[in-house]
């Protein structure tokens, strides 16, 4: 092994615990994108004609669009013809139990610390595991179905509940919304679907673990959650990715639909491969996440902890259409080394007496760039709309950047909008205080950073919060001094 490789190996194996690849026999589409590929994907999944038409329409739409250039990030030109748009682990028979699942797959879960068997037995979390775009194991389905809750892979939903998918697919994020949403609409491989019936409170956290696995495979997940009148659901999305040298494109779409009096809580811990210390490799994460508070008194709450990816471009948003509806956005975004993040939210107030709250905590270290971009838009008929935004930035070292781009558009005079922003640095005094108590520097930084992000971490379900805390510490390892 050459010295350079050895160094790379050392760096990578130390810093990114989840870096490994699993040898699953894949079933891949040829590289590139055209109408035939779209048809190939649709055929692979035995999709109905209407869905193929929808994909093709999206593809044609995408061809007319151009990549957005306004985010505060830079990256080499993406060659969309050099990407494989479909790859699925080969599994001929659908498993009836975990024993029938590919043992390689189970091993992967164990490395991630989410043994399904354990989860099944010990925790109340139903896991819909997505590896290389196709759901391979879904647990707790029976228990959920007793309550009429549908929680399954997107492909399954297309087969079993076409009327629901047809009705809500693209209802919150139209195919023409943006470049990456259009791309996703054309080629999405799989994802999760969730429907909570009227008046049902989902008794457990619904959770999906994503993994990006096959080399050169773009990930195009699609998630659709529909909460019927008066229902409640808390959904967790967490992900890690194996070590890769080439950049991997990820363009997911998440749509949330909340009817009258419904509440959806969506939490994300994102830990995709951020690239190495020199900024080589890493995931490009271009995601469209949006929730529609369609009914009166509905509520959608986004919580995200973003530590991974080379580039993050992501604005989980709320459209507050129903009167008295509430939108929330809690975010911690950490960037280190050469990572770039341009993330934030949009709160669109349409209904009367709508309220929104934004808490954004950015942490920049190394040579990274961290931008908050947020829009609060109060439309004409949104009487008595209220928003409170808190955007904090924490800097570590003097080579990183923190940027805040708040946009406020108010068309109704009764609106009350508050925006607070702070920028701080981890003080030498704070670090020394910790050292003097016997706490080493890395732990001191972890402690201070977790304290800073506490308001957001508190929004996460318990087991996720613990994981998120560890992630923050891991991401910032070696960033002081």
């Amino acid at each position: 092994m050459s010295k350079g490789n050895q160094v790379l190996e050392e760096i990578t194996s130390k810093e990114y615990e989840h870096g490994w690849t699993v040898n699953l026999e894949t079933d891949e589409a040829p590289k590139g994108l055209n109408e035939d590929i779209v048809r190939f994907i649709s055929a692979k999944k035995n999709e109905p004609e209407w869905l193929l038409e929808w994909r093709l329409k999206s593809f044609r739409q995408w061809q007319k669009m151009t990549e957005p250039k306004w985010p505060n990030v830079t990256y080499p030109v993406i060659n969309y013809q050099d990407i494989i748009y479909y790859s699925a682990p080969k599994q001929k028979v659908k498993p009836n139990s975990l024993d029938e699942v590919d043992p390689e797959l189970i091993k992967t879960f164990e490395k991630l610390g989410i043994s399904l068997t354990e989860q099944k037995r010990l925790t109340g979390v139903a896991v819909d595991a997505v590896i290389d775009s196709v759901s391979v194991a879904t647990t707790f389905k029976e228990k959920l179905s007793e309550l009429g809750i549908i929680f399954c892979s997107f492909s399954e939903a297309v087969k079993e509940h076409p009327e629901l998918v047809k009705k809500y697919l693209g209802s919150v994020v139209p195919m023409s919304d943006n470049y990456f949403a259009a791309l996703n609409s054309a080629v999405f491989s799989d994802g999760s679907f969730c429907y909570i019936p009227k008046g049902v409170r989902c008794p457990m956290e619904l959770s999906t673990y994503f993994r990006i696995n096959a080399a050169n495979t773009g990930q195009f997940e699609r998630t659709l959650i529909v909460a019927d009148e008066g229902s409640y659901v808390s959904y967790l999305e967490g992900c890690t990715a194996p070590m890769r040298d080439e950049n991997q494109l990820h363009a997911a779409v998440v749509e949330l639909y909340a009817m009258k009096g419904a509440e959806i809580k969506y939490s994300t811990v994102q830990n995709w491969y951020p690239g190495d210390k020199e900024g080589k490799g890493g995931i490009y994460n271009f995601v469209t996440k949006r929730g529609l508070c369609a009914g009166d008194h509905s509520k959608i709450s986004w919580t995200q902890v973003e530590t991974g990816s080379a580039i993050t471009w992501k604005y989980p948003s709320c459209i507050l259409k129903g009167d008295y509806s509430v939108g929330e956005f809690y975010s911690v975004a950490v960037t280190n080394n050469y990572q770039q993040a341009d993330t934030g939210t949009k709160m669109i107030h349409i209904g009367k007496n709508t309220r929104s709250r934004i808490v954004s905590k950015g942490i920049s270290a190394g040579k990274s760039q961290n931008s908050y971009r947020g829009q609060v838009h109060v439309m004409k008929r949104a009487t008595n709309a209220r928003n409170h935004s808190q955007c904090d930035s924490l800097l570590m070292g003097d080579q990183c950047g923190a940027h805040t781009f708040p946009y406020i558009d108010v068309e109704n005079n009764s609106a009350r909008i508050e925006h607070e922003a702070t920028t701080s640095k981890i003080g030498e005094d704070q670090i020394f205080y910790c050292l003097q108590r016997g706490i080493d520097e890395e732990s001191a930084v972890a402690l201070i950073v977790n304290g800073y992000a506490k308001e957001v971490l508190n929004q996460l379900p318990m087991e996720f919060a613990v994981e998120a805390q560890k992630l923050l510490a891991l991401t910032l390892e070696g960033s002081v001094g």
Partner: protein, 251 residues
């Protein structure tokens, strides 16, 4: 326990300590007094390992180890505790969480097992009683929005938790009213025993009414110019620092 020989230190280009000699044995309380700018706080900072200060000469032996070779965190783990003059705020981190992290890292260094939640809570309850501190304070973000008295009391609580061999109290009396002073001093006194030692750095004699020292040293221009018993502190109180200054100038 602590043996300082001819210690010299500077910050930037400014020489502050010009040869300190001091010997502290287990069971003793030493008071370091002196006018502003005499180097009292610098001495405390150098002993605890603050990076901004550069040691330019001399040596410090702590329990058979070369203290100046140790990192700040290892000094703490070896048993040195500093009660800060200006305790730092750490938003979002409770004293409880902070102490748990500190205690377990110190224990790990000493080859001991981490305390489980129950034992930690027990220890905490015991120490809370000892220094008369309320749990509600310990649940709050460390030092954030604390009054001067609360901050100092919290320092003494931390000292009780970590059971140091050598405690350095840096101007612990600054910003305290008489009641707070008494409470803080009481805590310190309760923690005194024949196996540990305390260095009290102070400008005023008043703290020494409550924490009675075995020895008093007067620091002036980076040197200990006079040492004595607690009577020296009283004499200083009566005559003021000008008395020392003139005596030094004459000599």
């Amino acid at each position: 326990m602590l043996n300082i020989k001819n210690l010299q230190a500077k910050i930037g280009e400014k020489q502050i300590l010009n040869g300190i000699d001091l010997k502290v044995n287990a069971g003793e309380v030493h008071a370091i007094m002196g006018p502003n700018g005499s180097g009292k706080s610098t001495l405390a900072s150098v002993l605890s390992g603050r990076e901004e200060y550069e040691v330019t000469g001399g040596e410090v032996d702590f329990l058979g180890k070369d203290l100046l070779e140790l990192s700040p965190e290892d000094r703490a783990r070896e048993g040195i505790f500093m009660a800060f003059q200006y305790p730092v705020e750490i938003p979002g981190v409770s004293t409880i969480n902070f102490m748990k992290t500190a205690l377990n890292q110190i224990r790990e260094y000493r080859g001991q097992q981490a305390l489980d939640a129950v034992s930690f809570l027990q220890l905490m309850k015991e120490k809370m009683k000892l220094v008369a501190i309320d749990q509600s304070l310990l649940n709050r973000s460390l030092n954030e929005g604390f009054s001067g008295g609360e901050k100092k009391r919290n320092e003494i609580f931390q000292m009780a938790m970590l059971e140091p061999k050598l405690a350095i109290l840096d101007e612990t009396d600054s910003g305290l009213d008489i009641d707070a002073l008494r409470i803080v001093a009481n805590g310190v006194n309760k923690l005194r025993n024949k196996n540990n030692a305390t260095i009290v750095v102070t400008h005023y004699q008043r703290l020494l009414d409550y924490i009675v020292p075995d020895y008093v040293h007067v620091l002036y221009k980076g040197k200990i110019v006079k040492s004595g018993t607690k009577e020296l502190a009283l004499e200083l109180e009566a005559k003021g620092y000008d008395w020392i200054k003139s005596e030094v100038t004459v000599a």
